[in-house]
């Protein structure tokens, strides 16, 4: 039994991979045994997902080799991975919304004779797989009618249906409510007992301790170490993940804020995704917003900034006046800035230079008659901000796509500083940044608040919220379910509120 269980199924040796401008992985080795749950932990951007995407052939490594069941394999596309018995569950749903549950589960390996699909067999087989995980969903309904959590479960069933003996799970719980996490863990244990190997990626350490046999830690694209569960404790892991003590990265909140002039007041805000939101924000205050993905955090930010969802009711008072911010132009005009969660898609224009990105929201102010650009003025503003924020860029007219993630994010901040906002909303401002860049962004956020700007900070990283916020709102299903003052802020309370569990 023991010898069988310790058979090494996968070995990745000296894997390296770089993307334009970034070394994502350098010299990473990893091995995984049968009947084992190997947890892969690390901060955002540590290279966990990249490593796994190499393993399943979405990316190809620059250097290094993969050895599967003792044989060197060349996995150059997902098709190869499936045939070698590797399957993966992604963080974001990889289902086709308009195909049915059953069709999705067996997509790519439908039961068929030649080219012709056998639908009866397909749904029967899908049903069997669903039952194995105790999921009571009709395999014939289209996937887009399911909730996010249900979709995630279907994605898991899909990965299992390949009968793979190596299953990779990339943060599968990021959109699952807690009781379904337990179902998932039971399922992982069942797989383990069948002798399959599981690589489980997470940055929630509680989960790691619940499920892992061994823990491998990545940092900045390098393997920092592998620990057995017995040998791992929380502080060691965190130190390995971030490379220094927690207190250094997330210093204790220093209380500087005192209630001053009210800058924003939201009353009974209701839209298609939000229900009856009420809160106030004061000058110089950092208001944290916590919640799971899809809890309405981003929707709230976008409503205040005037993008997308139109209001069904409620009032927004900004700077003492009732305002209706129907589009970003008006919001910016009123003095609101918005650092969105996805700088690649919503924050920066990658084809433009640093200067031109910074000046985007103030084009009207740096031009004659709002038509003829004053390029000297533009350059001067950009230079001042680049120096102030210590943006590391070769030249002012370097295209932003050539900067590192941290510096790109600083360009986004510079862009909003150029309008001198009275209120700025941050949505996941440090996602995907390394520790150093994170600390710099945190410093800038604090500094903005000290200068009297009202700050709304949305984040999934509880330590970040705890270290920066004066108050934290917790959201769930489009509603505010709790408000914690700085004295009450504690990680488990935020999590349980966000997940909708009873407080203990």
């Amino acid at each position: 039994m023991r010898s069988n269980n310790s058979e090494i199924i996968l070995e990745m040796r000296n894997i390296s991979k770089s993307f334009p401008g970034v070394k994502a992985l350098s010299d990473v080795s990893l091995e995984c045994k049968r009947g084992e749950v190997l947890c892969l932990v690390g901060e955002n951007g540590a290279g966990k997902s990249t490593l796994m995407k190499i393993l399943v052939g979405v990316y190809n490594q620059d250097e290094g080799e993969i050895i599967l069941r003792g044989k060197k394999v060349d996995i150059s596309n997902p098709w190869d991975a499936y045939r070698s018995g590797i399957s993966i569950i992604y963080q974001e749903s990889n289902l086709v919304p308009h195909l049915s549950v059953g069709e999705n589960v067996l997509l790519g390996h439908e039961p068929s004779r030649g080219f012709i699909i056998n639908p009866t067999k397909l749904y029967k087989s899908a049903k069997t797989w669903l039952q194995r995980l105790n999921i009571d969903i009709n395999p014939r309904i289209p996937v887009y009618k399911l909730s996010v959590a249900q979709q995630q479960m279907i994605a898991i069933v899909k990965a299992l249906s390949l009968n793979a003996d190596l299953v990779i799970m990339d943060e599968p719980t990021s959109s699952l409510p807690l009781h379904e996490v337990e179902t998932l863990f039971n399922c992982i244990r069942a797989l383990k007992n069948e002798g399959r190997a599981i690589i489980y990626i997470s940055h929630r350490l509680e989960e790691v301790f619940q499920i892992a046999d061994r823990v491998a830690v990545l940092r900045d694209g390098k393997r920092v170490g592998v620990l057995s569960r017995e040998g791992a404790d929380k502080s060691t892991l965190v130190r390995m993940m971030i490379g220094r003590e927690v207190e250094e990265v997330y210093p204790e909140k220093v209380k500087t804020f005192t209630v001053d002039k009210e800058i924003l007041s939201v009353e009974n805000l209701t839209s298609s995704t939000l229900k009856n939101i009420n809160f106030k924000l004061y000058r110089g205050e950092i208001l944290g917003v916590a919640g799971l993905m899809g809890s309405g955090r981003t929707a709230l930010a976008k409503v205040i900034f005037g993008v997308d969802s139109p209001l069904d009711g409620g009032d927004i008072y900004f700077d003492g006046k009732s305002v209706s911010l129907k589009d970003p132009q008006r919001a910016i005009g009123a003095g609101i800035g918005f650092v969105s969660e996805n700088r690649g898609e919503e924050g920066l224009v990658f084809t433009l230079s640093v200067t031109k990105n910074i000046s985007l929201p103030i084009l009207g102010k740096i031009s004659y008659l709002k038509f003829w650009l004053n390029k000297n003025k533009e350059k001067k503003i950009a230079r001042t901000l680049v120096e102030e924020l210590k943006i590391r860029t070769p030249r002012l007219n370097t295209q932003v796509s050539y900067l590192s993630g941290g510096n790109q994010q600083k360009v986004v901040l510079a862009k909003w500083l150029s309008v001198a906002p009275k209120l700025i909303i941050f949505d996941e401002p440090t996602r995907g940044l390394d520790i150093g860049a994170k600390a710099e962004i945190h410093y800038l956020i604090r500094k903005m608040a000290e200068n009297g700007t009202g700050v709304i900070l949305i984040s999934s990283e509880i330590p970040e919220l705890m270290s920066l916020s004066d108050r934290i709102l917790v959201m769930r299903k489009g509603q505010i379910v709790g408000e914690l003052s700085s004295e009450e802020i504690a990680e488990h309370r935020i999590l349980s509120l966000a997940a909708g569990e009873k407080e203990d």
Partner: protein, 331 residues
């Protein structure tokens, strides 16, 4: 040896293979069209020395001018992330209106030309409004507009267009001031104004930003719909202007005047290094693209080859250029 290696490492070889490929593609996308243009001129001169004859150069530039004018319009639409397939049909429509309206009288030239330009701008406005406000994909909208204009043209002329082109318009299409063709002057003016708008005004900047990343531009307070609509209006206006110049060049009314210019203008823009996804491209590059496309056609004629061969070459150049310039998605 060591020194040599150091030198190598300090240059382009310091980058990894994939990075080198990126840099090469980037440099090529920026300067490739000029290199190709120079090579093409040299090769043309060797293959057929007549190529450098002033008469041939004159003809070449004359033919390139209407294409250049449309291409500037097309570039502006492409920069905003769109595409306009209705330009050729619009050129033909302008031709019909001009021929029927001017009746060969010079004094009617100006008012009828203004009507034509107005029609062009109006067609562009319709394209732009329906594309942005109703979410119709640009190429489907402009394809529909192409057929619609074609139908209106044929119904109106009953298939047999009439009218004469006045000498003033003929002068714009074929004449010269000193040694420079008038049409080239018009093209030069359009390109110059275009360059000023793109590089020195807020609108130009907004256009580049909108094409580069529409969502980011919108969140930076740019009215992206307005920017896109204006780009189609400019394109329609310039297509009408090109139609007028072409009418002067042809000197007759033709229901199919300008046929093929949609493909040629897109090809010129793309060969000139613009991204079809929007956000990157220059007037200078587009001028090079226009010259490349025109020289190709010119050479087919000079070498006494079938005109149809020119079409085949243009098609291959279009596909080849896009395949070659294909730079990896940034970020």
């Amino acid at each position: 040896m060591k020194a040599l290696r150091k030198i190598a490492e300090s240059t382009i070889f310091a980058y990894s293979r994939s990075e080198r490929k990126d840099i090469f593609q980037f440099v090529f996308a920026r300067y490739g069209s000029y290199v190709v243009l120079i090579l093409l001129v040299i090769v043309s001169g060797i293959l057929q020395p007549i190529f450098f004859h002033p008469r041939n150069i004159f003809n070449l530039l004359l033919r390139a001018s209407p294409l250049g004018i449309v291409a500037v319009g097309q570039l502006i639409v492409v920069l905003g992330g769109g595409i306009d397939l209705s330009v050729a049909s619009l050129m033909a429509t302008t031709n019909i209106i001009a021929a029927a309206g001017m009746l060969g009288r010079n004094e009617l030239c100006l008012p009828v030309s203004l009507i034509c330009l107005g029609v062009g701008a109006l067609v562009g406005l319709t394209n732009g409004v329906l594309i942005t406000k109703r979410g119709i994909p640009p190429f489907i909208m402009t394809l529909g507009m192409m057929i619609l204009l074609q139908g209106i043209r044929f119904v109106w002329t009953r298939g047999a267009p009439r009218g004469t082109i006045p000498s003033l318009l003929r002068f714009i299409g074929t004449g010269r001031i000193w040694i420079i063709p008038t049409a080239v002057l018009v093209f030069g003016l359009v390109a110059g104004v275009g360059a000023i708008i793109l590089y020195y005004t807020t609108y130009g900047r907004q256009l580049y930003a909108t094409g580069g990343n529409r969502q980011a531009a919108k969140l930076s307070g740019i009215n992206v719909d307005k920017v896109i609509i204006i780009s189609y209006v400019i394109c329609g206006f310039l297509a009408a202007l090109a139609g007028l110049v072409l009418t002067g060049y042809l000197g007759l009314a033709d229901n199919w005047a300008g046929k093929g210019y949609e493909l040629e203008s897109i090809a010129a823009v793309v060969v000139g290094g613009a991204y079809l996804m929007g956000g990157r491209g220059t007037i200078e590059g587009t001028i090079a693209g226009v010259l490349i496309m025109s020289i190709l056609v010119n050479m087919v004629l000079l070498l006494n080859l079938d005109v149809e061969l020119g079409m085949i070459v243009q098609g291959i150049v279009l596909i080849g250029a896009v395949a070659f310039y294909k730079v990896k998605k940034l970020g």
